[in-house]
């Protein structure tokens, strides 16, 4: 998926704050992610995982501090593939129409073919002409993932991707994430606790009240990073 010509993307958060009035979602966060790493972000609700991902996606700006990317041109948006809590697709359009629309915006080459391939890959080949609002949560997640993968991004961001998925869908997701990891994409995923998905990661970081408090890169074990994360 990541061709040899495209370098993988690295990120560096330096002293990043994100404030909502009196509340700090992120506080003095410093975190460097190397190209090609697959990082699991652990932490309780409200620890700042979603905020970190939205800033990494360039949907939000930090109140203070900087986020810089390696492997992209200066001031260029890295165009990350982002899968959030919300499906980010239109309920009143079909799966195929949604993907064709976003592919058009992104300037994807050979749109029709790419969309058909992706839909088949995520297992929605049969249901591609059904309206997304008729889909189950698991199927919407698959459309969301297909949407994130349309432009072949080198940076992927997943916000609790397994929430609400049944075991079959979770198995499929785990397999798919493994493939993406092995192809060299940089992946950040946020998780509640240890699970099969967490085991895909090459590194784990725990967030607590907006700062990084444990990191397997600095010696903590995977287990310790996740076990204190709570349910």
């Amino acid at each position: 998926m990541v061709s040899a010509a495209e370098p993988s993307i690295g990120l560096r958060f330096e002293n990043v704050d994100k404030r909502y009035g009196a509340v700090y979602a992120l506080r003095n966060l410093t975190l460097a992610i190397a190209p090609g790493e697959c990082v699991a972000l652990a932490g309780r609700n409200g620890s700042g995982k979603t905020t970190l991902l939205r800033i990494a996606a360039c949907l939000m700006r930090p109140t203070r501090g900087t986020l810089s990317f390696s492997g992209v041109a200066e001031n260029q948006n890295p165009r990350a593939g982002f899968v959030a809590h919300a499906s980010m697709v239109y309920g009143e359009l079909t799966a195929k129409e949604n993907l064709l629309f976003f592919a058009k915006l992104l300037g994807v080459a050979n749109r029709q073919q790419r969309v058909d391939n992706l839909l088949r890959e995520v297992g929605l080949g049969e249901r591609k002409d059904s309206l997304v609002r008729t889909f189950s949560r698991g199927m919407r997640q698959r459309v969301a993932i297909a949407r994130a993968l349309l432009a072949d991004p080198s940076l992927l961001l997943f916000d609790e991707p397994a929430t609400g998925l049944d075991s079959e869908a979770t198995m499929w997701l785990t397999g798919h994430l493994a493939k993406l990891r092995d192809s060299g994409c940089t992946i950040l995923l946020s998780l509640h606790g240890e699970s099969e998905i967490a085991r895909l990661a090459t590194r784990a970081v725990r967030l607590d009240t907006g700062s990084a408090v444990a990191d397997t890169r600095s010696g903590a074990t995977f287990q310790s990073v996740f076990s204190m994360a709570g349910g």
Binding site: R19, Y20, G21, A22, T63
Partner: protein
């Protein structure tokens, strides 16, 4: 602290002096008599209001650019103070119009435009009450403030053109049309006095807003420890 007290005292004294000048120093106008003297307040308040909104506009632009709280404090202070002066204009207009024309409101171009101006800034303040999160509130109200302010010249222009199509009684005639010598000094003195008052009111409102910000900061720090 003393600077503020001095500014306040100066403002009060100047306004009182301007009032004295308006009633006792300026020559009486031939056709309208005593009634015309309200003009010194009506027009000087209009100018002070517009100055306040202009400074607020700059504050809004600066906030969008720099994102520093203090520009938001400036923006809201200027909007409120400008609104006070604009309200005085809207009240003094009818006070003049009733004895002069027999009706309270003539839909005169300047007064009508001023009414729209007043509505725009009331909306600005209303918008602020409907957004809780301070950074969002600051950004969105700054953006609305910018849109509102750039509309103001178009509003005044369009309504004036409309009024040339459908003439109606004009409140107080043109402000600089044939101001006799004694009147001109009084008028500009009143403008000056109102601007000092405006400056004082904005400064006070600004420091109130700043204090609120400081209290919030202290409360956050207390929560953390």
């Amino acid at each position: 602290m003393t600077k503020r007290v001095l500014l306040g005292a100066a403002a009060v004294l100047l306004v009182m002096a301007a009032a004295y000048a308006a009633f006792f120093v300026a020559p009486e106008e031939r056709t309208m008599g005593v009634l015309q003297r309200i003009f010194y307040f009506h027009v000087s308040c209009a100018w002070a209001g517009l100055t306040a909104f202009s400074v607020g506009f700059l504050g809004n632009l600066l906030y969008v650019w720099k994102r520093k709280e203090k520009y938001d404090w400036l923006g809201v202070s200027c909007a409120e103070v400008g609104l006070v002066f604009t309200t005085i204009v809207l009240i003094s207009g009818p006070i003049w119009a009733k004895p002069a024309w027999g009706i309270y409101w003539t839909w005169d171009a300047r007064l009508t435009s001023t009414f729209i101006l007043w509505l725009l800034y009331i909306s600005y303040l209303l918008l602020r009450t409907l957004i809780e999160e301070p950074d969002r509130r600051a950004l969105l109200s700054a953006l609305f403030g910018i849109f509102a302010f750039i509309d103001v010249p178009i509003v005044f222009g369009a309504i004036r053109w409309w009024r040339t199509q459908h003439p109606a009684p004009v409140i107080m005639g043109g402000p600089n049309s044939g101001l006799a010598p004694g009147m001109r000094e009084t008028f500009f003195f009143a403008v000056f006095a109102m601007h000092i008052l405006m400056w004082f009111l904005i400064a006070e409102r600004y420091s109130l807003e700043k204090m609120r910000g400081d209290v919030e900061l202290l409360r956050q720090e207390a929560d953390e420890t």
